[in-house]
Structure formats: C-alpha cells, structure tokens
Amino acid sequence: MNQIQPGTWVEIEQVVLTPEQRAPTLPEDTKQVPYLLRVSGFLIEPAELGDPARIRTIIGRELSGVLKTVNPSYSHSFGTVVPELLTIGTEAER
C-alpha cells in the first residue's frame, strides 16, 4: 500500500516495559501505563506506518520498534500570547 522507502528519516516507538514489567514503586497513574520509547533514524527495510520496522540511528545503531512517523520534525514554539506578561517592566506599569 503506502510503503515507506529505506533511507527515509522516521520515528519508531517501542514498548520498553509493559505495566506489569515496570519498576515496583510507582504512583498509581504511572503504574497503569507502559514505559514507551521513541527514537528517530533512517529506515532500513521498506515498511508501512504501524508495521514493525528497523532503523539506523544518527550514530549508526540499529534499533527496532513500530513505525510511527515519517520525517519527524519539531513544531514547538513561543506559544500563544500571554497578556499577563506584556506590560511587565514597561512604562504602563511604572
């Protein structure tokens, strides 16, 4: 179907520990959920989103997991305006 080509920059997800396998002392909410890893690298063999996949990371390590994102990127920002900050330290406030 929608095969992603080897060499594409992708992100995989791996279940490191299931809830049962996690550390013995955890708060209740954390205890309920698996311990997950996400890591980016170049796809080694063709795969579709949601398939098991292997990657070669930027430093050359081979890791495996489920193919999660193609061309993972960053979109964090300075956030929406916070009006409470605008006048701090200005003439309007002095």
Binding site: L17, D29, T30, V33, L36, S40, F78, G89
Partner: protein
C-alpha cells in the same frame, strides 16, 4: 554472543558492574562504610588540576563567560528597599558557553576523560540542558553520544521546554532516546551503557563536578578585579546539587571563604515527580524542589555509587521562589536589562532580588548562571502551555500560587519575596536517610565525622541529633 536478561530487576542487579565498566573508575577505592567515603580524595584523584581543567575547557568553548552588572534592576530593588539597603546584583552569563548553559562545564571534563580512556561514545540520562552540553562536547571530541530523556506523558504530550532540549541534542548530532514518565530512566541508561560499552557521562561523577569549579573561580576573580572585594553572596539554582557544589568549591579554591552560598529552587511542593498526570502540570522542568530537596537530603540516590555533588556540604541557606515570581523577574530582565534568557537560569535571579533588598547597598550578590532561550525554552511558551493544560495564570500576590493549579505573577517588584527553607529540617532529613542506609547504633567516629562534614555542622551536632533518631 550471549543474550543478557534485560528485565528491570536483572539489569538493576547488574548496576555495579555496568557502572564500573562504563567509567573506568572503581568507587570501592573510596568507600569506607554504607554512608561514609573519602570525598576529598575522590575529587583529587580525578587526576586533573585546576589549570588542566581550564585548558581542557578552553579547547571546547567553555568558560571565561562575562559577568554583567544589572544596573536597572539593582536601582529598582533599591527603590523598594529600606534606606541603605539594596545590594548590587551581578549575573554570570553562562549562556555564552558552547550549547548555551553552565552544563558545558560539567560535560567538558567527562568528554575529555572518555576520549582519553578510549571510549567510542558517551551516554547521559537527563531531560535538562546537560543533554545538549554532553552532545556538544562529544561532537567536539569526536565521540558518539546518546541522550536518554524523559519527554512525554502517556498521551505523548511533552513540555515545550523538554521538547526543545531534545531538539538541541539532535542538533549536536546525538541519538536521543525519548521516554515516557517514570523512574525507569536509570534502568534504560544502564541497559544502553551495557549494549554500547560507552562512557557514563553521569551528572554526578567527580569529573562533572570538578568541571563546574571553574565557574566559582571565575566569579571570584571577576568580582575582585572590578569591585576590589569578594562577593557577599552567590545564589545558585539548585536541583541535583552539582551546580552548587562545584561553584562553592571553586569559590573556596579562590579563597572566598566568607561568601554566603545560597541555594534557590522553584517551590513545586505537592506535585509528584514520577506521576504521569503531574508531569505536565509543572511549568519548570528542573531547578525545582522536586529535585532540590531529595537530592540535598540524600545525595547518593543517583546513577553512580557515590555522588560527587553534595549540596549541604556547602550550602548556607536555601531560598524557595514560586513559578510566577520567576516568570515576572525573567520578564523584568528582558525589558529592563535588555537580556532575554531562559527561565530556569532565572530562578536564582529571583532569589537574588529578595536577598539584595535585605543586604547593604555596598554589598554584592552574584547570580551565577543564565541559560539560552528560544522556542519552547521561554517563559511565554511555558505559560501558554500551562494555560492549555488547565492551569490558572493571572497577576496577583504570589503567595496565592499553588503548584500545578495556579501560577500567580506578581503585580509589583515588592511582592517578589520567596520564602526560606528551614536548613535544620533539611539536615535532619538527611540524617534520617543516613540512618536508613546504615543503622545509627553502627555509626563509627568516622561516620559521624563524615556526616558532620557533609552537613556543614560540627560532630557534636550529629552526636546530639543521632540520639533522637
């Protein structure tokens, strides 16, 4: 190839052998009892002199950062102070280090040591500026780098500040392992050290802490050169304890034995550090009490057998500030001083404002770090994210601040007041933790002497308190 058991308990059981192999250093040489060890000898036997450290740091763009006088902020503080009060506030612009924070000092000696010992790469488990510092130093020494970060809650949502810190690590060429919330970060670190045979660039090794000493020495010489006296107080944002320990040791090396060492953390009491839900209700990712208090009261809760960062050994007082106060002062730094810097580095600046107000006009208070700022790593991002996560954000009296519920940004500078943490209480908690590690009735004279030095008290104080434990 033999496949090793990678279950949580099996990996944790191998921790000592993994750590030994990943540092080329054996802590057994220094350990004297379940609590005591020869701290000063461990620090000395890193094999690096102060001059060596300076030289190594210059090779990789670390240190010699500017010390800036905050004239307008000092004037504003004097306006609200009693006559004769209002110390001069100085700030050490550590954002000028490669990778944008003082953490480069901490990573630099580890990277040099890893390369010298022939390791192919280095690993650090951190969600802070330290990751970028290790990645940047590793890149300059031709080493591979893996940074292990706690980034997401179980919904896959990450704080903008941590996401930015991960981006920076990748920008410097590191592989970044991005994990969900949990103390298993240490397990992941051990597993990755074992798989790769890389160097453990733990935050808490003697190399890391010795690398920060240059910061204290620089402050001493810069203040003396410009003001012909020693700083009266140095304020240090406190989390794991390395920043405080290294800076204080540097100041002592330079002979500043009358300088008050003031710790400062953002008060996040009430929020659980390992809670999936609370994770994104914190608007600070470090420099807060969730790390500051447990690490002060039991430094050895770390990823090495004995921690080189021992804050109570050097701390004279501990100031707590609210998130709202720090955001307010960060904005003042920008608008009044023309310096836009990241919020975590401004935690100590906030405490400096309250200290300066109580100190004499002729005195000097030094804020010993700044950090870089940018998308995600900015007080506007943090506040917008908080609001999005249901946290109330408003102007008002910071006394109404409730961690995880309401961020109250002061309306005026005279509302920035913070509060003081009880040192006696901290020292007692430390003793209780020590008693858990080694029963009180087994404490030898050497143990008592170690505890006294570790708490900056005399042995009589320890003897007196041990009876009440």
């Amino acid at each position: 190839m033999t496949t090793r058991d990678t279950s949580y308990s099996a990996v944790m059981a191998r921790r000592n052998e993994i750590m030994k192999a990943s540092m080329g250093m054996d802590y057994d040489d220094f350990i004297q009892s379940p609590i005591a060890f020869d701290y000063e000898r461990m620090m000395r036997e890193t094999g690096y002199t102060h001059a060596d450290i300076v030289r190594i740091q210059r090779e990789t763009k670390v240190g010699d950062t500017p010390l800036l006088e905050l004239r307008n902020l000092t004037a504003a503080v004097r306006k609200i102070s009693e006559p004769g009060k209002g110390a001069t506030i100085l700030v050490k612009d550590e954002a000028a280090n490669a990778s944008g924070s003082f953490k480069a000092r901490r990573a630099s000696i580890s990277a040099f040591e890893a390369a010298r010992k022939g390791y192919k790469g280095m690993i650090a488990a951190t969600s802070g500026n330290y990751g970028a510092a290790v990645a940047s130093q590793a890149a300059q020494r031709g080493l591979k780098c893996i940074v292990i970060q706690e980034v997401y809650d179980s919904r896959g949502v990450g704080q903008p500040e941590i996401v930015e810190k991960g981006r920076a690590c990748e920008a410097y060429g590191a592989e970044v392992l991005k994990l969900t919330v949990g103390p298993e970060l240490f397990y992941m670190q051990l597993r990755t050290l074992e798989e790769t045979g890389f160097f453990n660039a733990s935050l808490y090794t003697p190399f890391g802490v010795r690398g920060i000493e240059t910061l204290g020495v620089e402050i001493a010489s810069q203040v003396r050169a410009r003001y012909s006296k020693d700083p009266n107080a140095v304020v240090i944002t406190h989390a794991g304890g390395g920043n405080l320990t290294g800076t204080a040791r540097g100041l002592l090396t330079a002979g500043c034995d009358q300088t008050r060492i003031v710790a400062c953390s953002v008060d996040l009491s009430g929020l659980h550090m390992a809670s999936d839900r609370d994770f994104n209700r914190k608007s600070f990712t470090t420099g807060h009490t969730g790390f500051g208090v447990p690490f002060a009261t039991w430094p050895d809760r770390v990823d090495v057998p004995r921690n080189a960062a021992r804050s109570l050994r050097y701390m004279d007082e501990y100031q707590l500030v609210t998130q709202g106060e720090v955001f307010y002062v960060t904005e003042l730094l920008t608008k009044m001083e023309g310096l836009e810097r990241g919020p975590a580095g401004n935690t100590s600046l906030t405490a400096a404002v309250t200290l300066a107000r109580q100190m004499d006009r002729e005195q000097i208070v030094v804020v010993q770090e700044t950090e870089y700022t940018g998308a995600g790593k900015h007080h506007n991002s943090q506040l917008a994210f908080a609001r999005q996560n249901g946290i109330e954000v408003r102007r008002g009296d910071p006394k109404d601040n409730v961690p995880g519920k309401a961020i109250v940004i002061p309306e005026r500078l005279d509302q920035v007041w913070g509060k003081v943490q009880d040192m006696e209480h901290l020292r007692l908690s430390y003793l209780k933790n020590a008693a858990r590690a080694h029963p009180v009735e087994l404490w030898s004279e050497n143990d008592v002497a170690f505890l006294a030095a570790d708490l900056k008290v005399n042995p009589e104080w320890v003897q007196q308190k041990r009876r009440s434990l």
